[in-house]
Symmetry: D2
Subunit: 195 residues, 4 copies
Amino acid sequence: MFSRSTESKPASALQTSRWFNAAEDLTLDDFRGRVVALIAFQMLCPGCVTRSIPVAQRLAQLFEERAFAVLGLHTVFEHHNVMTPAALEVFLAEYRIRFPVGVDMPDPTGAGTPLTMQAYRMRGTPTLVLIDAEGRQRAQHFGAHDELLLGAEIGALLAEQDGTTLSGPEQESHDDSTGCIEDHCEAPVVDESVS
Amino acid sequence: MFSRSTESKPASALQTSRWFNAAEDLTLDDFRGRVVALIAFQMLCPGCVTRSIPVAQRLAQLFEERAFAVLGLHTVFEHHNVMTPAALEVFLAEYRIRFPVGVDMPDPTGAGTPLTMQAYRMRGTPTLVLIDAEGRQRAQHFGAHDELLLGAEIGALLAEQDGTTLSGPEQESHDDSTGCIEDHCEAPVVDESVS
Amino acid sequence: MFSRSTESKPASALQTSRWFNAAEDLTLDDFRGRVVALIAFQMLCPGCVTRSIPVAQRLAQLFEERAFAVLGLHTVFEHHNVMTPAALEVFLAEYRIRFPVGVDMPDPTGAGTPLTMQAYRMRGTPTLVLIDAEGRQRAQHFGAHDELLLGAEIGALLAEQDGTTLSGPEQESHDDSTGCIEDHCEAPVVDESVS
Amino acid sequence: MFSRSTESKPASALQTSRWFNAAEDLTLDDFRGRVVALIAFQMLCPGCVTRSIPVAQRLAQLFEERAFAVLGLHTVFEHHNVMTPAALEVFLAEYRIRFPVGVDMPDPTGAGTPLTMQAYRMRGTPTLVLIDAEGRQRAQHFGAHDELLLGAEIGALLAEQDGTTLSGPEQESHDDSTGCIEDHCEAPVVDESVS
């Protein structure tokens, strides 16, 4: 997965017929300077709904303060008559999806696969594309995500972008219980003079 | 979590009484040039056993080809009479833990908290410490991990270390089924002349 | 949840406009002699899709050799224009749902809530109704299921129906590995003469 | 799994060296009139700790108002020197296990497998034994549990015992939100005059 990025190329333009959760139509240029996770999905694709969309929602929340954005792309390649923009709008509302979602442009020649999906040569849904702050496509994954790996890819791109990595030693605040609770055991306070 | 790393300091030395899964005693200097995830745990801490150790095991496997290492540290601060090195050895075998695990050195003054745990001012277990390839401590987290966030932290350190980030566009190979299966929907093959 | 069943009443008739996964239209009378788990859902209800439908699918499989049946009921009370029978048909195919699913009859007066949903006074989706072998409604639950509790309810009804409970001592067959693997530790074989 | 119970036999007596979470030593006779789920485990068996113990804890809580009890049995057949009663006591405290747990009696001949484990011819840990209210052994399962199936077995035994099955129609109370939340979608209130 990780190798020197000598072969990256500009990410293909998004060809969309409309957008949801956006004030106006969006292009990748609007996100120059930000790392973009582009998630291609279909609203009736089980793996998209149960696995991929929840990860996309958590990404949008976890990195909302970074130079980062999650974009959805509804790449319908089957059952076009029921996965319409009107149905997608209900889906987005019911699943409380807040990030922008574009509708991939239908192929005017009548091919079932829409235009952006064709340009990226996606194999199906879900497909996750990572685009760096300079608009270059850096990764493309088909199928379910491993969260540790996906996090590592995004962390690398974020570090590359803003020169920001990790602060020095820190202590996260937790509740003040002592003993073992659900996810940890609290130690008795160490006498400062000892350490 | 992410901020400019102007304040990082050398990671404190590991003070250990013995090691498991290692041919000889280890020090952090042995891992110079590699990013280290140091996981402090107790073998009878539920959050360590059910949440943290499994993540550590996956990290060790996922990044085994990178300049990266997972080290365990058995930081017993309570119930010392039953969480002995002999018991730890059985625990490591039963849970099939393969990465090196050191036993944190008991405090000679009789304080329950062992010496490395004191030096890092850990609040309890599990605690995860990230150390960069130059031996500087870059993060310390108490309690359960968010995999996306932890992955991002490690990805940033790995990128910083070896200048390696992400390759260009790729297509992961999956099984050849078409239609929707558990985690994805396969699209019909797009005619190359179209795309 | 458990109390003496002195108040049970005949389950209300299913009022449906059409059926999927069935050769012909079904009624509850068709299932007399069998315990029925009736699962009311909407195809774009997240809790139904991610939690309730998977449990219904496992129930159908686990108890397929018992006097038991799972029936789905598509009780659309909102967004009728996109949760159409045509869309439901795609949903059932994509999610590989095999048990019969009826479409709850729209209210002719124009109320959004369909007729069977009204008759059962369901609060929303998912709702699970348990009907005994004599056609009496025995339980109705709104929201997510606890699998142990739901299993206990169904087990009680199955026992009541066919006089069948549990066999005597048995040993399930597992793989022949020894030692500890993912979900168990195998003991060395006990010398028969000892036990 | 379910078949007519013509072959059940009295459950073998528990042979124990001591008990935890009990005021005095316990026998199966103490639980006559109650359905018993006997869970045999080892404190360093991963499958026991991560899968079986949590189910046992939930069973104890879910059915605490029924004629039902969960009993633990620490059946150490390996690594006896570290899975001692003293270590078990710490384990029970750290994992907050409240149900009674007996220590299976070591074999005086020096065989590693303890006496109750031998009497039940258990293959390893975890093993779950179901005993009915008349003290007959009704089921024995080795390995991980399917919650729906285990619930069904227990529900059948509970129904058999106290003649209690399920009440008539009920409506569980949930929060008053409308629309779709995490696990359900709330319908608008149906006008009573309509239904």
